[in-house]
Symmetry: C2
């Protein structure tokens, strides 16, 4: 059976565009990035990019967001351990893109309904699924009598990490210590809310 014509080459173009976008984001920052520069770096025509993405924002979103989608960490045997693991994953996620990229993406998400929908079904849903699974494990273990609201747990875990990096611009070296405090605080709060 013959390969569908053009497929491998199209895949290579996708990868080249994403790699060029990530490299230029690191070198130039979010606001300065242009489709022209990405096309030149990737060795493709601008038309090839605009066939894939309606806007510069969609191109950047595709290049960066995929890396930000969490998967649930292995079961550590306790709610506190699982929350510590997922909080470390959240930290790794948010601290990896070049400075300014996540705030830039977030502004575009709020300015563009199509990006907002992808952000909700990608980033937010992936994290929410992990957190829900961790809460369900705790219920199964008997650590919690029932599942707390995953949205609240999500805000309590993600929010302080985001604030440390992008609102308060605190020292990144102390981010691991912050993550430990956040996870321990949330584990205790969930146990206190409804003692088994």
């Amino acid at each position: 059976m013959s390969q569908p014509l053009g497929r491998p080459r199209e895949g290579r173009v996708d990868q080249a565009v994403a790699a060029a976008a990530r490299a230029l984001l690191a070198e130039q920052g979010y606001a300065q990035l242009t489709v022209d520069a990405v096309a030149t770096r990737a060795g493709v025509g601008k038309a090839a990019i605009y066939r894939r993405y309606a806007t510069k924002q969609e191109m950047i979103f595709a290049a960066v967001m995929h890396d930000l989608e969490l998967t649930a960490p292995p079961d550590t045997g306790s709610l506190a351990g699982d929350l510590a693991a997922v909080t470390r994953d959240i930290v790794a996620n948010l601290a990896t893109p070049p400075p300014g990229v996540i705030p830039g993406l977030l502004a575009d998400v709020h300015a563009d309904g199509a990006l907002a929908a992808r952000f909700a079904t990608g980033f937010v849903t992936a994290e929410r699924t992990c957190i829900t699974e961790i809460l369900d494990r705790a219920v199964t273990r008997g650590e919690l009598p029932r599942r707390p609201d995953p949205a609240v747990a999500h805000a309590l875990l993600l929010g302080p990490v985001f604030a440390w990096l992008f609102l308060l611009m605190e020292n990144r070296d102390t981010l691991p210590a912050l993550a430990e405090t956040v996870a321990a605080t949330v584990a205790q709060a969930l146990r206190d809310a409804e003692p088994p």
Copy 2:
């Protein structure tokens, strides 16, 4: 004694520009706002705006950020009460500007060193001062043996509110309940960390 010439009129221009910027942000959103539109709405020339602000971003920043600077709430008599009050103030702050304005400002803060410096010395310092005062009151009352790190308390209070509104885009109607949970969780965590 005569008034300094021109002062009142200059002050009126400042106010007209800020009011026009806020009105257009509410009508059109952050990304669409132009200095031209603000000048027209305010009834001033573009030159008058550019004499005040080097960029569109600085103009918006000045129009919005002043409203986001907290002052410490009155002493409620307890750490839990004070944290609940300041968290309500943080919610009011972040929920007031039109949707998209805070994420847009934040992206610009990360793209522009001068805005970043003003953000740090305005918004961040004002909130940090309030939180530090609240922690000091708790020490004075004997609720805490010593002052915990205000940066960590700040991230734990501000982060979940920001996440609820701008990352998770959860229901704004449940924001007061989230704020209560956040404040109670942080109060308990601070007391647990170092029992008196």
